[in-house]
């Protein structure tokens, strides 16, 4: 997409993410041609939608679409995809012969699909198995962010009747894409928190002057912007270099920096930010869930560190 197309697309997306429910947003995204954009220009489609979704605290099924696209699966409206359970990024299923065990999560739209695709390890292989959605026991997650509509799936000993399809390189690629999408969403949520804290700092007066004049407050907000731009730069770089490792780094940094942003912004918003009526807490909650999906910053960082300590070789640097 060129500059004008992208601006138009983003304007339409902005209107779409204002919708209240995931189902409404999903319909709006279909109408807008977001799934086509995902195929033709994944970076533009993913970065613009997820940044806006993060900002607006909106939910959609787009993450499922991103995973399906990266797996090379033409996911029709009747097939849902099981995502890894919170905190994990390995394939959610394990296939032993024809017996399938699933420990995963799904987004709100999953409930309305009749079939579910489970990516599963089968010995050394990774395969995709389709099962009836109804056969997967689901628990609606209230958790720290009840607005997210997340569901937890735990199934042991299912019989897989459909023939498993190989996905080969597909799963790491799908994880990388999902991590980039989530990183954009985390950056979007962080930017919104900074906006809220900034407005408050300029309006709220203490000791006869706006609290934005106090250096302690200014430096917290400055550190928040540094945190956000740090994450954003690495996410852009991850698109450029296209490796799964950089995508995981970007997700980890975006998660960590979003938590830095939460902390600073909640401190600046102080009492009002502690109330249920103020918007802030929704973002603080969402950030924690987004950080957990496809690997927490802590776990991804530890995995990277262990890999480097083992290989004693830094990954190549993004060239100029």
């Amino acid at each position: 997409m060129d500059g004008d197309d992208l601006a138009l697309f983003e304007r339409s997306l902005r209107a779409a993410v204002e919708r209240r429910s995931s189902a409404e947003l999903d319909h709006a995204l279909d109408d807008l041609g977001w799934p086509d954009a995902l195929r033709s220009d994944p970076q533009a489609a993913v970065s613009s939608l997820f940044a806006l979704q993060g900002r607006a605290h909106a939910t959609s099924d787009a993450l499922t679409g991103v995973v399906a696209d990266a797996l090379g699966i033409d996911c029709d409206l009747d097939t849902g995809i099981v995502l890894p359970a919170a905190g994990r990024w390995a394939a959610p299923g394990r296939l032993e012969g024809r017996t399938l065990h699933v420990h995963g999560a799904a987004l709100a739209a999953f409930a309305s699909r009749s079939e579910a695709l489970v990516v599963a390890t089968a010995g050394d292989d990774v395969v995709a198995v389709t099962v009836p959605t109804a056969s997967l026991p689901r628990r609606p997650v209230e958790g720290i962010d009840p607005w997210m509509g997340l569901q937890e799936i735990d199934a042991r000993g299912l019989e897989a009747t459909a023939v498993p399809q190989p996905v080969a390189e597909g799963w790491p690629a799908a994880v990388a894409r999902a991590q980039l999408a989530l990183a954009h969403e985390l950056v979007g949520a962080s930017r919104r928190m900074l906006e809220l804290a900034r407005e408050h700092a300029l309006e709220r007066e203490q000791f006869g002057r706006p609290i934005a004049t106090f250096q302690a407050v200014r430096h917290r907000l400055a550190d928040t912007l540094v945190a956000i731009e740090t994450a954003d730069a690495l996410v852009d770089a991850a698109w450029l270099d296209g490796t799964a490792r950089t995508a995981a780094m970007a997700k980890a940094v975006a998660g960590r920096e979003a938590r830095v942003a939460s902390k600073h912004c909640q401190q600046v918003l102080a009492g009002i930010g502690f109330t249920a009526e103020h918007e802030l807490h929704r973002h603080v909650r969402r950030v924690l869930v987004l950080d957990a999906l496809f690997g927490t910053s802590k776990a991804l960082t530890a995995a990277l560190g262990a890999e480097l300590a083992g290989s004693r070789r830094l990954p190549p640097l993004l060239p100029l």
Partner: protein
């Protein structure tokens, strides 16, 4: 020449002339040795043309994108050919000369800096003027076709080696603050200049105090117009946070790789190692975007303060990781390699101080990027 062609050509040239380019000294070397090495590398690279790419033709360059300069900085740093901080000074001083010196002066002087024929220094800070640059007091008084300069500078890198100085002087009243400052390009062998080196914590006399006692400077050595010195400073400071920082990222990448090779098994905490690596890659990604913005003709401004904060965080994190993993080398190692690590660890403490402290950068971010208004 495009970047890919330049990269391939320069890499091949560096490879082919590895022996001629290699430092004569072991480890970090003395300051004299570091400077001699920089002069050698610059001369060879200038005469072979590589040092001239990315600079305008009117100052002896061969034109082309500023990305070529960034790659040169990266390539020589990644091979440990030069002391990176000192080598990158040209990336700070030459662009300012190009922007503010008269075309004749720029055409004569800039090639001397790029070829390593001369060393230059930057006379900004004063004993009473650290973060509050606009309060500087080193006085210049107009006397016919000359300026007469009296006052003192401090933290002037390489002043004892320098042939020239980009000097900020007070030409208005002290109350005129940033409006009454004028930039001058001063010959360091002018009568009345005394240089007294300062030994810094990392064991190097990199900085000096410089005293000016009625030093005569011809008026044609003005950088910009009278009273335009603040623009000179504001022009220079973002350069300090662009190509120079890209090179710094290359340096830190090399040191982190060496640390990975050196550290005993189990001495590296995986979470810290992962975090430092991520921070370094994010710093590099941020700096890359800045290089491209500059190459596309964009002006660099307050957003480079984010790059500078990130540099300080990254550099200190890399050397803190070293201090944790190789505590014996840091504290009691006396071999050249340990001495070099120790010097670089100590120098890394200054990353949040020089070139505008991290507090000043946060003030800039708050006022200029977040638009939080004045802080009083």
């Amino acid at each position: 020449m495009d970047l890919d062609e330049y990269r391939a050509g320069l890499d091949a040239w560096l490879e082919h002339h590895a022996e001629a380019l290699a430092p004569a000294h072991e480890g970090k070397g003395t300051l004299d040795e570091q400077l001699a090495q920089i002069e050698k590398v610059k001369r060879l690279a200038f005469d072979a043309g590589w040092m001239r790419h990315g600079w305008p033709e009117r100052v002896g360059g061969l034109g082309g994108s500023t990305l070529l300069r960034a790659y040169l900085q990266e390539a020589v740093t990644a091979r440990d050919l030069v002391e990176p901080g000192l080598f990158s000074m040209q990336e700070v001083l030459a662009p300012t000369m190009i922007d503010f010196a008269s075309p004749e002066l720029g055409a004569i002087m800039v090639p001397r800096l790029l070829r390593g024929d001369e060393t230059w220094c930057q006379g900004f800070s004063e004993p009473g003027t650290g973060s509050n640059l606009a309060s500087l007091a080193c006085r210049a008084v107009r006397d016919g076709d000359t300026w007469r300069v009296t006052g003192q500078k401090v933290w002037t890198s390489l002043a004892q080696y320098a042939e020239r100085c980009v000097l900020l002087t007070r030409t208005g009243t002290v109350e005129s603050a940033h409006r009454g400052i004028t930039g001058l390009f001063v010959d360091m062998d002018s009568p009345g200049i005394t240089v007294r080196p300062i030994e810094a914590v990392h064991g190097s006399e990199e900085f000096s105090e410089v005293f000016f006692d009625d030093v005569v400077v011809p008026a044609e050595r003005m950088l910009g117009a009278e009273g335009q010195g603040w623009s000179v400073a504001m022009d220079l400071l973002p350069y300090e946070r662009s190509t120079a920082l890209w090179q710094r990222a290359a340096f830190l990448h090399r040191r982190l790789q060496q640390l990975l090779e050196l550290a005993p098994a189990d001495s590296l905490d995986p979470v810290r190692l992962g975090e430092v690596t991520q921070t370094l890659y994010a710093f590099r990604a941020r700096s890359r975007a800045t290089q491209h913005r500059m190459a596309d003709g964009g002006t660099l401004g307050p957003e480079t303060s984010i790059d500078k904060v990130l540099l300080a965080t990254t550099e200190q994190a890399v050397f803190d990781l070293f201090a944790d993993a190789l505590a014996a080398e840091l504290t009691t190692g006396d071999d050249p390699a340990s001495s070099q690590w120790r010097a670089e660890f100590l120098y890394s403490r200054a990353a949040s101080i020089y070139g505008g402290s991290s507090e000043i950068q946060r003030n800039i971010i708050a006022r200029r990027l977040l638009d939080l208004g004045s802080d009083r």
